[in-house]
Amino acid sequence: MDKPILPQVSPALAEKRRKRRLIRDKVVSWGVGTGGVSVIAVICLIFFYLMYVAMPLFSGASIEKVASYQSDVLSQGKTAHIAINEHGTLGARFTQLGQLQFFQLQDGKVLQQEFVAEGHALTSYSVSDAFKNTMAYGADDGSVVIMQPKFKVTFGQNDERIITPELVKPYGESVMVHEGLPVSVFNTRDGEEQMTIASVVHDQLYLTTLTKEVSFLDDSIELEASSETIALSHADIRQVLIGPEQRLLYLLDGEGSLLVYDISDPSDVPKPQVVLIGDGHQVERLQFLTGSLSLIVTNEKNQLSQWFIVRGEEGEHLTKIRTLEAGGGDITAVAPEARRKALVVADAKGYVSLVHTTAETVVLREQIADQSIQYLNISPRATVLFTQAETGTFYLHHIDNEHPEVSWKALWGKVWYESYSEPEYVWQSSSADNDFEPKLSLTPLSFGTLKAAFYAMLVAVPLAIFGAMYTAYFMAPKMRSVVKPTIEIMEALPTVVLGFLAGLWLAPLIEQYMPAIFSLLIVLPLSVLVFGYFWQRLPDSMQDIVPEGWHGLLLVPVILFVGYLAFALSHSIEGLFFAGDMRAWLTNDMGIDFDQRNALIIGIAMGFAVIPTIFSIAEDAIFSVPRHLTNGSLALGATTWHTMVNVVLPTASPGIFSGVMMGFGRAVGETMIVLMATGNTPIMDFNIFEGMRTLAANIAVEMPEAEVASTHFRVLFLAALVLFLFTFVLNTVAEVIRQRLRNKYGKM
């Protein structure tokens, strides 16, 4: 050819073009590089983000000093109680002699002060409800004054918060308990319908009940008082506490024994239960944990222990649940938190410890003063700690302690929760009221996950592997090319459809035809064998109608017929063996609990979802076993089956194993089937007729309602992280095994 096809270009232009092309090449390679790396980075991001959200659970607490000051005004008298407002800005200090000072926590500036029981000669005081800040004083004339400091919040013009402190006396100026006898040891407890005051003088217990009656006319409350006197067997009563609902009364004597009275009917109080709570030592301090179900006992040996009433077979008994470690030092003050089962403990060396009872952990222990701490309290939101040291120095600390309730033991171990009769694994994450003790054990959820996966594998593994063996090795290629994609398409079926069918169609069906399902387990393989035997006894001419490798198809009508027979006879079998109702027979005669949506349904439905995963990988592994191996075995005279078992399976076993692992991974993470086909109750029971709650289903159920950044929210993220890691590791191992296998085949 003389003329070039492309028009001639000047060298300058050609150079320019070449440059542009090179630049474009660079840009593309750079762009693809960034794009590729960023996609991979996004994938890593999933892991790190989950971890980022879950990590604060384990990050512990920190304490930070905000202010410290000396104050003479606030050092007047001995501190009885300091109430702190919701936002941790104001305090209300009650002295033992009835002085009240409202002051700013930040600098100790006193806003207002008064004597709360003017005209009474005060003889004693009692912090009646540390969580509602109810305070009571007893006077020498036998009357009791009950009061509550309130911090009223209003909003100013520019939306700034204005807090006005005031003192409320909900029961009037005073309530007479025992005329003429000075009040010494007493306690009060307020409730919706009534209020109880218990006061001990020498060895007499005076119970005063104020019943509230709302007037029909103007909604004002009228009080009706009644009182009872009970003779005590013990003298030297040091402390009185009244439990919630005003049902139990605790009296502590000087030797460390606690008298527990049932005062639900004050006119008929039975004999008390006497419990030694001091471990042989004198008890220094007796307090309620929030919710007032648990007692926190501090003895003179500085041991802290938690006690609550446990319902056993012999009735209710006050039981020691756990000893709490708060670190050494002489304990000088203990303050319970208002909304969590936690305590702040101070000692004589100026150390403060944050202790959580359910988690049994000391979240933080730090020295905040170089002298003994006399009094401390923590704000309702547990963010502000106010401390009074011996020499009249006051400290204000900010506490960052978001998730004390999480510890290794709380997440995975058996924990003795309030009002449970023994330590248990429980998941119960939320409830309406503040006194609720969150039960965050992941054990029942993990157990449920494994249980569901186990039953699914029980169904899927034999079917999938047997099926894979037949499809890869015995089946005619033509049939294989149809069967394999058919089974693999199952993998794409939305699990929500499977779950729906399992829950609304299969579960009622199985409940109704239970004997059929169980008889099929035995009858089906038997009938297949019988059919197979008689098939090979047929004359050759008839056997030849169905060529080798198509036998699977022959069995379809057999299985359908046997299945139909089992279902048709189900009711007769039920009538014959199970008195007409297998379900009732299971529950009544065998003592097995039965749910309609149970592990059996999950096994079948999820097994169905897992079959294609295992089948596909196992089939590939078996199919790619080199032919010369099998041919060699056959040539040596082994039957096809013996070749299968002794040559093919050992070679392909790693592939099959990796298929099973991938199937297991899928079963562990499956959400919708479990969500729809079980009752989602977090129980720890391996019973096939009961349901379970899995990690994945639990996330799906609770995540939308979890409050952002709460412990519950983070624990759900932790559950997701656990699932992620578990399946990721499982799949990686399976994948590595599969790649090794591929290399091995490559060499053969």
């Binding site: 996609v39 035997y533 379809v556 039957t639 993470g669 799906a700 997701a720």
Partner: protein
């Protein structure tokens, strides 16, 4: 195969082969049976059932029952006796029927009856089914038509009813158009004005002129609104005039205003052709209408729309990124242990439970990204979140991450199948790497990308668990795409076929009535997904054939 004795047969291992074959057969039966069940129940939903009529004697009372027979089951008589029926046990079984009696304001929609108590079943010619917008179906006989409270004389009630029904339908369509489109649009614009004002207020840019402009726009809109309100109340006044009188099985006559009637039909009169006609009307209604009665009746159009919309958005995100990542892994990065590790990691992500992606999407996209976007760009709508709440954008992004491994794996497979000779040819002609990629490799592997995308779409369409966390709702008042600016509302929540199945099947108050509809929805979803998968398999097979010829 020669004939063997039992012992020889056992020893040869053949029984095991038969058992293996049985496993395959069972798997096949399970797959086909499952698809069959969904298809039968799902397609059967639209078929008009006969309306049966019989007398039912229970505890000495005889009641007339009219309704559709929904289900039949055989129960041992002994069990029925236990359940409190007065029967004599002969050890046999009796039929029990689930009857849809309708007329829900009079009691339960569904009820079980047993055959021994029933008289012979008849199928009266003129039994009517009145589908209503509220209280579900009513079964009975049309006994009259009233207009403004006065009976309209009629010789052929069925014929006379037709034009009236058409009129009522027309009126309802008008009212719906005003309520759903015009009024909604005005409200939306008013809300936008409020947000605009707050935005200016926050940025201290609310001048007097702007305030005036806002006020005038607002008064315009309010005027329009009151105009529509007037038309509406006039239309509503006309709506309640026509009433049909339905005689129920109890003999009681009830007035059914035509405004609440969806349609009236007489299933026992329909011939095969008529039934087919009715069938397709119902199918069309199912595909094109909004749901009614807490999703248990009517159509699933918003769910179909939401699913499609979400999948399209997801494809827009997932395709470029998946392809770029695959190209990077296969063409640009050094093939070493690191690439191998990345490849395994990508592969395994396909096996990570979908709910984990949902949790990630909720935490990262919704709360972190969405929250940041809100505080940066939409301070005016505080405290109600715009993007800081689950919505279709976050849902499609989450699913894009979920399906990106699928696209990467499929594209990589396609890239690896492009013969090395083709690449070398292109490079030898002087093309740069980018030019080879763009002009040779990508076009050749485009069917593979297509396969990947189709598989991704199929997976995304069937996924429910993550969507429950990042944007799906049981009933979305508005579609994510409508006539209000900016037309595409990425922050809106949406409905989804899969979630619809979960919600209606498990959370609805009238599960029995909803079940057929759920089956129909499930059938639609399965159909779409199976078709998508088959398409991808076909494309892949074609691709393999093509390369086999190039490669050789």
């Amino acid at each position: 195969m020669s004939q063997l004795s039992l012992k020889g047969w056992l020893r040869s291992g053949s029984p095991w082969i038969w058992l293996n074959a049985a496993a395959v057969a069972m798997s096949l039966i399970a797959v086909i049976g499952l698809l069959g069940i969904i298809a039968v129940y799902g397609l059967g939903y639209f078929w008009p059932g006969q309306v049966a009529s019989f007398e039912y004697k229970e505890n000495g009372h005889t009641t007339q029952v009219i309704g559709e027979i929904h289900e039949r089951e055989e129960v041992a008589i002994s069990r029925l006796i236990e359940a409190g029926y007065a029967l004599t046990d002969d050890g046999g079984n009796a039929n029990r029927f689930l009857i849809r009696k309708g007329n829900r304001q009079q009691g339960a929609d569904f009820g079980w009856v047993i055959e021994p108590y029933m008289s012979a079943v008849t199928y009266p010619e003129n039994a009517a089914v009145v589908e209503r917008y509220e209280w579900g179906n009513a079964y009975g006989f049309i006994s009259g038509i009233k207009r403004e409270g006065k009976a309209v004389p009629s010789t052929d009630l069925q014929e006379d009813l037709k034009p009236l029904l058409e009129k009522a339908e027309h009126l309802k369509a008008k009212i719906d158009a005003i309520e759903k489109d015009s009024l909604h649009s005005i409200n939306y614009q008013l809300e936008r004005l409020r947000l605009q004002e707050r935005k200016w207020l926050l940025s201290k840019a609310l001048t007097a002129e702007r305030q005036e402009a806002l006020a005038s726009e607002r008064s315009d809109l309010n005027a329009q609104m009151s105009g529509f309100d007037q038309t509406l109340s006039e239309l509503r006044g006309r709506q309640g005039l026509d009433v049909l009188v339905l005689k129920l099985s109890s003999g009681q006559e009830i007035d059914v205003p035509l405004s609440v009637v969806v349609r009236v039909y007489y299933p026992n009169q329909l011939g095969v052709l008529g039934k087919f006609g009715f069938y397709f009307t119902k199918v069309w209604e199912f595909l094109s209408e909004d749901p009614r009665e807490a999703n248990t009746e009517g159509g699933i159009f918003p769910a179909i729309f939401g699913t499609v919309m979400m999948v399209i958005l997801m494809s827009i995100f997932v395709t470029p990124f998946g392809v770029i990542a695959a190209v990077y892994l296969r063409e640009y990065s050094k093939q070493g242990p690191l690439t191998r590790v990345i490849r395994i990691a990508v592969n395994n992500l396909a096996g990570v439970p979908s709910i984990v992606y949902g949790v990630f999407g909720l935490g990262f996209f919704v709360y972190f990204l969405g929250g940041s976007i809100d505080s940066l760009f939409f301070p005016e709508s505080y405290p109600s979140p715009v993007f800081g709440t689950p919505g279709i954008l976050w849902a499609s992004l989450t699913l894009a991450i979920l399906t990106v491994p699928v696209v990467i794996v499929a594209t990589e497979e396609g890239l690896s199948r492009v013969p090395i000779s083709v690449r070398e040819g292109s490079l030898a002609l002087g093309a740069t790497k980018a030019e080879t990629l763009w002009n040779v490799i990508l076009p050749m592997s485009s069917p593979a990308m297509m396969t990947g995308l189709i598989l991704a779409v199929a997976r995304a369409a069937g996924e429910v668990a993550p969507l429950m966390l990042v944007g799906v709702v049981k009933l979305a008042p508005t579609l994510p795409l409508d006539g209000d600016l900016p037309f595409l509302h990425l922050d809106r929540k949406f409905m989804h076929l899969g979630f619809h199945i979960y919600d209606v099947g498990f959370q609805s108050p009238n599960v029995e009535a909803a079940r057929p509809l759920v089956f129909a929805t499930a059938f639609l979803l399965v159909l779409v997904i199976v078709i998508l998968n088959l398409a991808s398999i076909t494309i892949r097979n074609n691709l393999r054939e093509k390369y086999r010829s190039i490669g050789s």
